[in-house]
Symmetry: C2
Subunit: 301 residues, 2 copies
Amino acid sequence: MTRETSASVAQGADGPLIPVLAVVGVGLIGGSAALALRRAGQVGQVLGVGRNAQSLAQAQALGLIDAVATPEQAAAQADVILLSTPVGGLAAILAQLRPHLRSDTVLTDAGSTKVEVVQAARAALGDRIGQFVPGHPIAGAERSGPSAADAGLYRDRTVILTPVPENAPAATAHVRDLWRACGARVIEMDAESHDRVLGSVSHMPHLLAAAYMAQVANADDAALRLSLAGSGFRDFTRIAAGSPEMWRDIFLSNRDALRTELTAVRGVLDQMERAMADGDGAALEEMLLQAAQARRNWRKE
Amino acid sequence: MTRETSASVAQGADGPLIPVLAVVGVGLIGGSAALALRRAGQVGQVLGVGRNAQSLAQAQALGLIDAVATPEQAAAQADVILLSTPVGGLAAILAQLRPHLRSDTVLTDAGSTKVEVVQAARAALGDRIGQFVPGHPIAGAERSGPSAADAGLYRDRTVILTPVPENAPAATAHVRDLWRACGARVIEMDAESHDRVLGSVSHMPHLLAAAYMAQVANADDAALRLSLAGSGFRDFTRIAAGSPEMWRDIFLSNRDALRTELTAVRGVLDQMERAMADGDGAALEEMLLQAAQARRNWRKE
């Protein structure tokens, strides 16, 4: 189901990997990629595309991009276009790019969901869908915007590509090389698996943390509760502080996978509640032990 | 509902606050209190009581206790008895202590729930219930056992006392002074409020994190999921690694408050699921915004 590619990036003797890169949405994700590629000497010119002129000016002042471009200019000039806008806005920007797109330009995205992104890309790009290699760098930070960009953001992180059948092997390889040049390891899987897995280990924690946090905040004695919350609460709820707009998009985009997972989580909660109601300490302890062992065996810290 | 006591601890000119302290269950919680009181010069002799001889020997070797004692010896000799055993074992140890208890000994506990503890104490102590001042130091760590004891564990942390009507003011004040000498701030509330509030901000995160972790661990593709889990997952699930035995006791002991809270959390999850099903981005964003704002405004980090 997954396939890891581990060969090192070939450094082109005759120029950078990407002569002209266009980044659509120059915030944490796109800005960090531009910085990392520049530091690796793998990009020539970086064009910045976006709707917020102030944010683009900041990106240019910070050296993330060389120049501001319109979608039309980016489509005509770029060798690679990295779409790092929120998932909800992807269809619109692809439709803007499509009429001006060179046939040898490779597009990729950084969206947190992939099934809906591929559907939107197919609808927007039509027979050019083979130029779009769907991707998802699993990296992020509490901060956002151009000032949060960090050349080291992708170092030793995982990027998942979910190629479509129409992708030429060279197009997929080009995007793989892009992320490897940023220091990431790159794996491939199908879009459905991506959305199920990320729905489980990324989106579901956010859903649960946000629902819980909203419930606490709406309690009559919320102030008292929050005044007595400690370090367990702190870590458990940290992700609930994330961008409401971004997570709204992710939840809507991945709703099918998320609802399947939520049903499964509810099932375990039902079991635990039943064990509590029955005073069945052995059953409760067995479930808690399973959770504790799985967490203790998880070696990524 | 709460009453904070903020005057500083009076340092006795004529000897320590507690000439003889008995600690029942000399692990992280009890051992840290003993160390802190010793460092503050507020304890004379510390007796250690427990079922695990090896653990008691370790506590003595580490200087947490001066001597090992039986429950009978502790009841006859101690001025203060701190019960820092798991909640589930409290009734049995109180019943052991009761026949030998001096009339001027003050008992207190460190249990994570209070309604059931008070019931158990009433049943075990009978007309001596006034000697028992229920307490809960809100502190803890991933580690446990005598070797985890830390004189600074309670510094600037909160201890909640839930006095019963039979407690003489002097008994409550004595326990308050004990915890203040450990560096903690002490507040008072009724046992029902304690269990509702802690059920919400301490027990519920653990319940949700454990149920979620068990669900992920039981998925057919658990290994793939866990290999792609990142920093959000890490923080969200950290508490799920906690002691299954301890949390089993807490969940059973506080099941009434927990089930009320769980019903409320399920209600918010229902709302979010409905918003996803309806494609209602505005409703979803509103709930996420409420959660994000509440978390961002929580100032304890």
